[in-house]
Assembly symmetry: C2
């Protein structure tokens, strides 16, 4: 795929190579090859900008309403040497794949998601997800991180891509405002043990009630894969295993729900 | 679309009218016209069966592994005059639209979702969602209902369809085990006020902290639309408005997450 030129211009054709390039970023292989990803919506792009993330390319619908935040965004993109493209609402829909499109989308460079970039001292709560496969759950967990003041989300083993359109959308901008790291379990555990940190698993095995459990900061709340839960040896490596009441037929919650219920409990317990 | 014949048979062709009929149930207009919906997976269909819901048609992949629960399911479907269809894994994938298909799917008659069918005395917690548009959120809330022992989910105004494949899937079978009702706000409020019930809104306006708030049973936990939240007059009609800490940039949580965090708080507060 071709690189994108810089400056301000208009695109009217569906088969324009820039449209194809941007659209290709909905697929993981193209994101991986280019190191770029898409985010959409003025609110989300404003959160990104205010967190220091300026899109390399900004795509505006010609049907947009004027907005001062949009004008600031355009100015900042051009000031950073980026590209501002005006196009039809239909082409914007084609790029983002959303039937009810926002008036603006941006292309960003993917962030460094190495564990080494995380500073565990900057927050008392962290979420950790193992083999989380659903990008919606991933985005929702990022959003929960923002809400509880968590440092960020650490993705263990083979998780969904945090830079997918679905994850970015579900994060409601939190991808830009909280930390995100990716690591294997064998990288994560030594990193965790190299400093302070209590690893807490949502678990059914050898677990204490989640309410009133002895949480301590920094607390790393670990939830497992949507269908398999956590591997037994991962749970065994945790400092604390807690369980939530299950009054019905099922023995588990949605992964992002379990993470949020636990994270709010930790927030209350730590009184941070 | 044609009706389905009863008994046991094999289907090998993609263009078979029964395949087309079942596949059509992925679309709301066809579900509405036929009053039927699809659910997939042995675990989910077993939960359904144990809750008294037998599929009218059972579709089995010829690549399935034998399982005693599957044999019981087949037997019950035939005993109830239903239809058992054996087909290829590819055709089953075509019917359910899931790339990683289960070995079994069922077609059920939709339930009566009128408010009048709900017995509020059967549970101390109920979830209420207003204009919930995402079927995944809807299914997740049903699953949370099961986990907290809630009576069910009441859908207010224009919500996603609880019988959509996505909602059924996300509910992990809870659609069959907890109550679900649909009503307009103008139907719901008089129904609520015709008996006991505390209406609690997740809110930012005139709200008390959700932790330690004076919850009382039966408690109806109301969450609003994913992007708009609750209309102001709906909030004003609530008996209690509670708010959760928001430590980050955003002022809201994912709707199903907010509902779950509140529902678990109510569960703990009511000590039920």
């Amino acid at each position: 795929m071709s690189e994108i030129q810089s400056g301000r211009r208009e695109i009217t054709g569906y088969s324009n190579p820039t449209v194809k390039y941007l659209r290709s970023l909905r697929e993981k292989k193209h994101r991986k090859a280019s190191g770029k990803f898409l985010a959409e919506g003025l609110r989300l792009l404003t959160d990104a900008r205010e967190s220091g993330h300026i899109p390399e390319t900004l795509v505006l619908s010609s049907a947009r309403d004027p907005h001062p935040l949009l004008a600031e965004l355009e100015r900042d993109v051009l000031a950073h040497g980026g590209d501002v493209i005006e196009t039809s609402s239909d082409i914007l829909t084609k790029i983002t794949g959303k039937s009810n499109p926002q008036a603006v989308a941006g292309m960003f460079a993917e962030f460094d998601t190495s564990l080494a970039k995380l500073d565990r001292t900057r927050a008392n709560i962290w979420l950790v997800a193992q083999a989380l496969r659903d990008p919606g759950n991933l985005g929702t967990m990022l959003r929960t991180c923002d809400a509880v003041g968590a440092g960020g989300l650490i993705l263990i083993d083979d998780c969904a891509d945090p830079f997918s359109v679905e994850a970015v959308r579900a994060s409601m901008g939190a991808l830009f405002t909280v930390g995100v790291a990716r690591a294997s379990w064998d990288e994560f555990l030594p990193w965790l043990r190299s400093g302070d940190g209590q690893l807490v698993a949502a678990s059914l095995r050898d677990a204490v009630p989640y309410r009133g459990a002895p949480y301590s900061a920094p607390c790393f709340v670990l939830v497992g894969n949507e269908s398999q839960g956590l591997p037994e040896d991962y749970e065994a490596a945790c400092d604390l295993r807690v369980t939530m009441p299950m009054r019905g037929r099922a023995d588990s919650l949605n992964a992002s729900v379990a993470g949020a219920v636990l994270a709010y409990e930790v927030l209350a317990a730590l009184k941070v």
